[in-house]
Symmetry: C2
Subunit: 221 residues, 2 copies
């Protein structure tokens, strides 16, 4: 998140070996390894030794790039949060409620399927009282929900759906979609699957969409 001058100095070809290339590759490796370890063990359980090992680098190298374990954690969280709100598309007053909600739910389930580690790190962070993300929750997230609440109220006024409490609706959608990442083991064991397959995620998205749309009395669903 810290601004750094563009990597290519005089006489280097952009996108070519040049300075900063190894640096970028190593940072990426470390962040990838860290995402795995933080998701599996939580912040306290994770060790820089294991992160270094999975990144294929000596431990001292990891500290050379990031300084402290907490700095690695914050960098991982930053990467996750960049996606958190924007990547799920917008929910706009001019949208059709059924379409917009279905799209949002599908995007969240996709995220659980494709980025389960990110989801688990986020879950862990919140369960522990959000020491790093408290500001995000009180600021950006709350504002996002307030904005979306306006949209839902408008839709209800127009008779396009029942008047429902918007905050609780989002709590339900978030919880129901994220459970397929955070509690994947439970889902797998109850369904008797070795691993969750594409069809399972599709079934989850269809189920949640159906319950939410019908449950909220969304017209044309």
């Amino acid at each position: 998140m810290t601004a750094r001058p563009a990597a290519s100095g005089a006489g280097t070809v952009p996108g070519r070996p040049g300075p900063g290339r190894i640096r970028r590759r190593n940072r990426t490796r470390i962040l990838g390894a860290a995402e795995e370890v933080f998701a599996e063990k939580g912040f306290d359980g994770a060790t820089t030794a294991e992160i270094a090992e999975r990144a294929g680098l000596p431990k001292a190298n990891v500290h050379y790039y990031f300084g402290t374990k907490e700095a690695i954690y914050r960098a991982v969280i930053d990467g996750i949060m960049e996606l958190w709100l924007e990547a799920f598309g917008e929910i706009d007053e001019r949208d059709d409620p059924a379409e917009a909600l279905a799209r949002y739910i599908r995007a969240k389930v996709s995220y659980s399927r494709n980025r389960p580690l990110a989801s688990r790190i986020f879950a862990n962070e919140i369960i522990r009282g959000a020491p790093v993300l408290r500001d995000f929750l009180q600021g950006e997230l709350r504002a996002w929900v307030d904005e979306r609440a306006r949209v839902l109220r408008r839709w209800a006024e127009l008779g396009k759906m029942d008047p429902v409490d918007p905050a609780h609706l989002f709590f339900l959608i978030w919880a129901a979609t994220q459970t397929y990442a955070d509690f994947e083991v439970q889902v797998r064991d109850v369904l008797g699957r070795e691993r969750l397959r594409g069809e399972d995620y599709d079934a989850a998205a269809d189920f949640i969409t159906r319950i939410v749309l019908k449950g909220c009395g969304v017209k044309g669903a």
Copy 2:
């Protein structure tokens, strides 16, 4: 969970000081403190030193009673799991679907309100891949869902509700209700509350019940 002979020896008055009384009190204190620490820090982040401090006992005393940190953790989990299934009442074929589901959801929200620490410890255990609870998930929990699935299918045959996938329905109910314990900070921050109040939990239970009953087309809801 290990069988221990009844505490009162010859000549002791039951429920009176006697042998085993201090033992029981100390074990209870340790388990209470451990529940707090495991919920806040997770298994790896928790330290026996902090458990001992909160229990008001020397660290060595904690090891005298439980031996290892893992033994404390397993004892805490055992206590939690005893409630997990039975305490939520049954869901029986002869029940009225609307009543039975509403009662189940209300009981789960109550649990989130009254035992948030237990809920968080469970969540942490599942996120980490359920090293201790894997057998429970594959055995008891799966069997419980299979049994309830029969009931839901029967209700659908009788036209009392839509035919819905029972497993996904329970995933949704579990996730939606537990989020008020596990993600309490998020709920609080989005709602702008200092602390969650009774009305908030009531609103949550009402909301989830309404969405689920209407979403599943339960008659007479």
